[in-house]
């Protein structure tokens, strides 16, 4: 995610060294068929300083510390979201019991509640703390710095969330066509949709905001 192509960087380096202005370089590349984004990113690799030789900017590198934080952030997000959904499902089952399910399985319900609550109590506060910490650090980072780990994990999360939303809608329509729409079912569909939808929208907006500012 750092370089869009060595030949692009070499070309820009030579062009800048020859004293050609950035706008002309950009126009020429676009005309040659390059996309806007890689061109801007490659140009950004060289500082806009008046110097006979083009001055390279320090490149972002994959920091292990960064990888740790983002991996932990998204791991706790997934654990929290899943267990929150699980807990809500159990509560919905308790409020609207399915007559087909015998009472014997009540004991499984108890352990389901316990495990969901336990995971939530541990993972969710960690997620909140990391979210706050990371957004604070982002505000103090120099503009134009791209974190590969963050982008990859964010897009991965968007992918998972969209997959879940698509699946959720499919199940809804499937049951709609079958004619069986109990209150319990509708509530469960809504829970899945609400959780995955919230995650999706929140991180998509975060990405859009970042892409606009860079």
């Amino acid at each position: 995610m750092e370089k869009s192509g060595t030949d692009l960087s070499v070309f820009i380096d030579r062009a800048l060294a020859s004293g050609i202005g950035r706008d002309r370089i950009r126009a020429a590349l676009l005309q040659a068929g390059w996309q806007q984004e890689p061109v801007d990113r490659a140009l950004a690799e060289y500082a806009d300083i008046d110097f006979p030789v083009p001055v390279p900017k320090p490149k972002p590198y994959l920091s292990a510390r960064e990888a740790f934080f983002y991996l932990l952030l998204f791991a706790t997000l997934y654990v929290s979201a899943f267990n929150f959904g699980n807990l809500l499902f159990v509560l919905i089952d308790q409020a609207f019991p399915d007559p087909a399910v015998p009472n014997l399985f009540q004991e499984l319900v108890a352990s389901r509640i316990r495990s969901a609550v336990a995971s939530l109590i541990v993972a969710f506060p960690v997620f909140l703390y990391l979210s706050a910490k990371i957004s604070r650090e982002l505000l103090s980072t120099p503009a134009g710095r791209v974190s590969g780990v963050r982008r990859w994990l964010t897009y991965l999360t968007l992918f998972i969330a969209s997959g879940i939303i698509i699946g959720d809608l499919s199940v809804l329509i499937f049951n709609l066509l079958g004619g069986e729409l109990t209150v319990r079912f509708m509530l469960k569909v809504s829970v899945v949709g609400a959780i995955s939808g919230t995650v999706f929208i929140y991180y998509l907006r975060g990405l859009r905001r970042e892409e606009v500012s860079s």
Binding site: S80, F84, L87, L88, V90, L91, Q94, N103, Q106, E107, V109, A110, I113, R114, A116, V117, L120, I121, F124, L128, S131, A132, I134, S135, L138, R150, T198, Y202, Y203, G206, R209, E210
Partner: protein
């Protein structure tokens, strides 16, 4: 990743939802555990009743009470639950006289309205003094 105002509000809303769900979950947990205890107590009573029937049959056949519950279990082809379903500890059995004996078990909760009078029990260890009925079923 998190705009100051928007993200903060979302965090608060989601936290409230999570806390509410956790509270409700823990609240619902109580009655469920209670039901499990009731079911186990019912199982214990049923086990004791089966033991009584077995002791009666043994006494009828051998003209004396068994020395221990293991002696009952030795009859081939006859399976008897002589241990607590939860803890695995064997039920207490003591011969008191030639035709009376005591059966003990540990119960999770005090007996309710559905338990027969002679099997009423407190929570914790309760014992029942029983008399072997000879030949009661052959009539």
């Amino acid at each position: 990743m998190m705009a100051r105002g928007n993200g903060r509000l979302l965090a608060v809303i989601v936290s409230l939802c999570v806390i509410t769900a956790i509270a409700r979950g823990l609240f619902v947990l109580g009655p469920i555990e209670e039901q499990r205890d009731l079911r186990l107590d019912r199982q214990r009573i049923a086990d004791l009743q089966r033991i009584v029937a077995a002791v009666d049959a043994y006494a009828d056949a051998n003209k004396s009470l068994p020395e221990s519950l293991d002696a009952l279990g030795k009859t081939p082809g006859f399976v008897l639950d002589i241990a607590d379903p939860e803890s695995g500890k064997p039920y207490g059995y003591t011969k008191r006289s030639s035709d009376t004996y005591e059966l003990c078990a540990e119960f999770a909760m005090p007996s309710g309205a559905e338990t027969d009078f002679q099997w009423a029990h407190r929570s914790g260890r309760s014992c029942f003094l029983l008399r072997a009925s000879k030949g009661a079923r052959s009539q």
